[in-house]
Amino acid sequence: MTGKTLYDKVWDSHVVKQYDDGSALLYIDRHLVQEVSSPQAFDGLVEAGRPMRRPDKHIAVADHAVPTRLRHLPMPDGLASRQVSRLMRNVEKFGVPYIDMNDRRHGIVHVIGPELGFTLPGVTLVCGDSHTSTHGAFGAIAFGIGASECETVFATQALRQRKQKRMRVWLDGSLGVGVSVKDIILALIAKIGTGGGFGYAIEYAGSAVAELSMEARMTLCNMTIEAGSRVGMVAVDGTTMDYVKGRPLAPAGELWERAVAEWRDLRSDDDAEFDREIRLDVSQIAPHVSWGTTPEETVPVTGQVPDPAAEPDPARRARLQKSIDYMGLAPNTPLRDIAIDRVFIGSCTNGRIEDLRKAASVVEGRRVAAGVSGIVVPGSASVRIQAEAEGLDRIFKDAGFEWRDSGCSMCVAMNDDRLAEGERCASTSNRNFEGRQGKGGRTHLMSPEMAAAAAVMGRLADVRQLKG
């Protein structure tokens, strides 16, 4: 018998029932609830007169629509404040634990789940949010769902799912100076495309992954959805255990020992088989920057905007042209000649303490270029508090950045942090879709170091040239 993959192990241990058609009813251990995808799910329960099966399996937080400044004041009345109050009413009614925006534990769902120890190795975890793949960094099966499935989880604590095929992405070698895990995932997406992961659960393996911190593994798994796959995973090792130990909702004492004994097996067996394997030598990866309106439209910062005229396939040529037009760029422009207006450092991809440290190390002793405005939005209050204890806030503020409270902010532009029409932004978030950071706004995705370099230079820049 061949061995099992990590994905198979976690899957098999959560099958409540196997159906004839090959799908299975999967038990869901954890559900993170936010204000945008939950209202209709709560309404559905009320309309059907159904109870919530287990309120203790959910944690709710408002992260998308909340302001990132002047939080001590009531939110101005409007759709956003009404969406947040609606969540508060719903959690009250159903008894779901809720974390207020002024709580020290507040933050983006995908940042606080791990911080609280709610995210644990080997669990199944869902959220009405596609970047739920983040939590796979803990050897969990974590995936995004729609509002209807949120309602199913509320009512049944289970979901009918089909098993994915398995893909393993081997990452070997060591990252160069100024290159980060964000560049790895951008390079992978550029290589396999935004549909490259359709139908697969991806496991990241190899020596480069073993060396990554949990924060970096979360960045990697987070953007797996941009490669088309709902699930990205990393095997459990000492780094995972060290991160989880002592978290408020993690097991302690004798239970910790029992859990660790189980978690040690959360890795793919040596003889496990995958449906597809890809290898990347990360030492060959340069800092990457997206130039277009899908994450696969990404090139090394040393490159240039592509020329549609050189694309033989008419459909692809049309697509390139559309992106170039939206982005207001000319073909063949070197990326490093592209001037920017705004900088956003934050999001569930790059709003963790390590990200802020890296950005601060580039910014320190420098100034944000004239005409550029930048905001730094910690992914959680605890990241903010830690950063302030380390003096990172001062570094950013001295350089001319605004220092904000936690939330999704300009990643999704549902609060008042947004680009104006035509503005160009160097962003550490995960999506460069049309209008993602505000109607008509133009997003270039990159790592925190690279966004910091862009802020200082006033244009897209290669952080490696700045560092020396």
Partner: protein, 212 residues
């Protein structure tokens, strides 16, 4: 849930690829409280000229403004999990989306709302796209898993049996799980709790969590 059996309608040809859910339903409208009326915001940024002279977005161009079928390119509905993308399509009147490939969460969301998402291979996809562009109606027969053109041409499509039954019968999935599998879920929980008690928060942990 609304059943899906047979549908005959003109099909709106949208010859574009990578239309993500941010394009289908821009994020700022996610603050709207109701599902009803979201069709107004469907593809909002593309629909700059809804009723005037000059070129309009396909869904504002007769006869496609009444289309119940949308035909589009690969990677449709990738990105954000927002179910509003499907609600907006359904509210506009779209009951069937045909594409070369779909974002997975979008695909899963469709069936929950009685919307049939069909994936076709390149040749079949191009044939359906051309037929749509002619303005002639298509017939989608879910029971037979066929797309029929006015001239009698028939194309088969693949659909997972459970998805098919859910749509044909308009099944309430939650109700089904509760009645058919409720005991199994309870038994699973009891077993898991005994074997892996750390997956169940203790009363103290829940209390800590509830403390502001």
């Amino acid at each position: 849930m609304q059943k899906f059996t047979i549908l005959t309608s003109v099909a709106a040809p949208l010859r574009e690829t990578h239309l993500d859910t941010d394009v289908i339903f821009p994020a700022r409208f996610l603050l709207l409280p109701d599902k009803k009326g979201l069709g107004e915001q469907l593809f909002n940024e593309r629909r700059t000229n809804r009723t005037g002279e000059g070129p309009r977005f396909v869904l504002d161009t007769p006869p496609f403004d009444k289309a119940q079928i949308l035909v589009t390119g690969n990677a449709f509905g990738t990105g954000s999990s927002r179910e509003q993308a499907v609600w907006a399509l359904a509210d506009f009147g779209i009951r069937c989306v045909i594409a070369a490939s779909f974002g997975e969460i979008f695909f899963a969301n469709c069936v929950k709302n009685g919307v049939l998402a069909i994936v076709l291979d390149e040749a079949a996809h191009e044939a359906v796209m051309k037929e749509s562009e002619s303005g002639r109606p298509l017939t989608i027969d879910l029971a037979a898993a066929q797309i029929r053109f006015e001239d009698g041409t028939t194309l088969a499509f693949d659909i997972d049996p459970h998805r098919k039954r859910t749509l044909l019968e308009g099944l309430d999935e939650i109700g089904l799980i509760l009645t058919d599998d409720g005991d199994e879920i309870a038994a699973f929980e009891a077993r898991q709790r005994a074997e892996k008690p750390w997956l169940y928060l203790s009363d103290e942990q829940v209390a800590v969590l509830r403390q502001p």
